[in-house]
Symmetry: C2
Subunit: 438 residues, 2 copies
């Protein structure tokens, strides 16, 4: 045996935390879960393994290459790469047993065999909510999503963040109305605006034979600035005579007004006509979320409206709207930046230790602490008192309760606050009170 | 598209619940987590995928056949089949960064490609705790495990359960002292005691040439009955002159005495000299737990003491003790038997609905409910009031708050208790009070 040890190692791209970091991670996850439940979303927990033909009904290209796919016996299996496809499967399977609008959250690991690099993970948590309608889904639900994002990031301890919102119908309708021969190329040119400037954009558009009328309209569109209301009214005054465009503007206006009605501060939501133009999946409202002090993270919560969740599985029309937080990457980046505000750094709030090797007197006190709702570790190894304190220190346990002859005689404990170093002999009731107030 | 739908389906042996069942499942999981944290166990979350050579360092035979193993690129990967091997890897890898005794819990999915049958799962949750010592681990920790089991099953709503406890050294030492030529065969014969009776056991032992002295000792041993104390004193009076036997008896006595000191009721713990004799992994104390009203479930929480957690990865000696609850099967069986006591059947505690299609007045009330800590769904689809009540009913939401003209005029809500059917117009503060008290 001695000569044939296997080197213990964890796969690259798979996050594995030390306990003190895991406590922070779990607290973030729990905060998100509670925020989702606050709005009445129902929990779901689908398998990590699915049949490949079910999971990959829609996938292709880049996605398919990243899939963990394998055979077990004769069965072609894949690990889920997001939580949306399993949701589509689930709703199509259980359509008759669900109540619509069906509001669910799911927090779970997904798998993508990306090239490993710093801050990118192959196994990562997604925290999703979606609302699925049966045949139709009121636009008001598009306004609820930013409220959940707002509530969640507030609860995570952030204040300065911006939810950017747009509606895909606006640009699609605009392009349709301009009868562009190569809208994809036009989009590529527009996207270079920040780099090359307005005059260059005009020239490039002219080079691919966009009419000067169309160029003028495009320039008016990409020059829109101002408050949310100003942007919407500028969109209206473009006078684009196209149904899709009008519908998009109307939906965006409705969502912005409703979000305001819901009580969202102006500073946290911003119409951004440039976002998420590339995504095929979304058909209406789209969202991205930026932490303004940590812009380098990119969008930390994205999502949008889709016309038909489960068209690959069912004829039922199931429109939906949803958002997703990529928790593993978010945690990794915030932790690296020391930007996580945690309410607790330890599991046990108190370590009960005996001044001697006899733990008898520690038992009823530990039990009393636990009954008072305090996570309590009773130190059971026979070590020197100094080693016991060191252990509490390393685990960030905020209090140590020492029980020795004196404490037993007085029916008390000596409670030490590990941060301040203060200690006093107090009754058990008093100790409970001090710990619970911490 | 229309003609090429893929049938949405979930793999056999993979549990996928409807939301109302998922709420119950999550509550059980959460209860177990909280119970583990009450005793100061630290959270861990290791990857589901590991390198095959790391994960299978020790596996073989049946286990290996059940593994989900596959290649991705050139890498030989496997899905974890338990949480103990990943723990061994973790402790060996992070030895220098951990504080010992290292107490961790992990609640996560594991994978075993068993032949699918009712109530057996290929993907299932294990809820584990382990305490790992550095070179040594005080026997007191063996007594802490039953306390955690006791606390956990009490919190899960059970009262009548028995933790059976034994120590492997006792039988091993006994057999060693008897210098049996085929101890495995002797064990097989003893295990048939309930079926064939004492006389037949004696005859069978005699048939394989066990000496009559040895037969007498074995018969004395398997005839031991009585209270825990009586069993231990009977073991002592066997006068077996073997170090391992004596050590096992002494450890068992110490654990039983300490568990008593910890406050465990006598009826919940029972020395059972017959349990877990087959398991190679454990070297000392072993536990099994039975719900006495649901004996057909078998042991719902098992575990024990092992001498060396990570010998395949490191020269460090890391003794440990741990237990595991197979939650998926436990939930499945209890749910089938209608034996789960849940504290909540819904996520939202109140559904806020507008009597008209205008939701404006519902918004501040929903916000007020949420601020008071009440999970609140604001119904946003424009449906008839009857449909809104039906929705609340199907989701088991206990209260509906209706806001119409009258309520707006009176700055109030009409709160309906969906169980009793009672409804009254009350202030928002009063509504919060009623809902919070529910």
């Amino acid at each position: 045996m001695e000569n044939s040890k296997i080197t213990p190692r964890t796969l690259p791209g798979f996050m594995e935390l030390l306990p003190n970091e895991q406590i922070l991670f779990n607290e973030m996850k729990e905060t998100i879960r509670k925020s989702y439940e606050e709005f009445g979303f129902l929990p779901l927990d689908t398998p990590i393994i699915e049949l490949s033909d079910v999971l990959l009904a829609k996938a292709g290209g880049e996605t398919e290459k990243q899939i963990y796919r394998f055979e077990k016996g004769d069965t072609d299996l894949s690990l889920r790469f997001d939580l949306t496809v399993p949701l589509a499967k689930y709703v199509a399977m259980h359509y008759g047993e669900l109540s619509f609008p069906f509001r669910r959250y799911q927090i779970g690991k997904v798998y993508r065999g990306e090239r490993p690099q710093k801050g990118r993970f192959r196994e990562f948590y997604q925290c999703d909510i979606d609302i699925i309608g049966d045949n139709e889904l009121d636009i008001l639900h598009d306004a609820e999503m930013p409220m959940v994002i707002y509530n969640t990031f507030k609860k995570l301890g952030f204040d300065d963040f911006t939810i950017r919102i747009n509606n895909r119908k606006i640009l699609n309708g605009l392009f349709e109305s301009l009868k562009l021969s190569d809208p994809a190329e036009v989009l590529r040119i527009i996207d270079k605006l920040d780099k090359i400037g307005l005059e260059q954009v005009k020239e490039c558009l002219s080079d691919i034979n966009v009419t000067s009328n169309a160029i003028n309209t495009i320039v008016d569109f990409i020059s829109i600035t101002g408050s949310n209301e100003e942007k919407i009214s500028a969109l209206k005054s473009l006078n684009i005579n196209n149904e899709m465009f009008k519908c998009g503007v109307q939906e965006l206006e409705s969502v912005i007004n409703t979000v305001k009605l819901f009580g969202m501060p102006e500073k946290n939501i911003s119409v951004d006509l440039s976002i998420a133009r590339g995504l095929d999946y979304y058909t209406g409202t789209v969202y991205e979320t930026f932490l303004n002090d940590y812009r380098e993270l990119g969008s930390v919560c994205s999502g949008g409206r889709y016309e038909n969740l489960a068209e690959y599985y069912t004829d039922k029309k199931l429109p939906g709207v949803g958002i997703s937080i990529g928790l593993t990457r978010l945690f990794y980046k915030l932790n690296e930046l020391n930007a996580i505000k945690a309410s607790r750094n330890s599991i046990a709030k108190v370590l009960v230790v005996s001044a001697s090797s006899d733990i008898s007197a520690c038992v009823p006190i530990s039990n009393a602490f636990r009954e008072a709702g305090i996570n309590t570790e009773l130190f059971l190894s026979d070590k020197k008192i100094k080693a016991k304190f060191k252990y509490a220190d390393k685990l960030n346990i905020p209090f140590v309760a020492v029980i020795g002859e004196d404490e037993i005689a007085n029916n008390s404990v000596t409670l030490k606050n590990m941060k301040t170093g203060e200690q006093e002999q107090v009754t058990i009731e008093k100790a409970i009170d001090i710990i619970n107030k911490y």
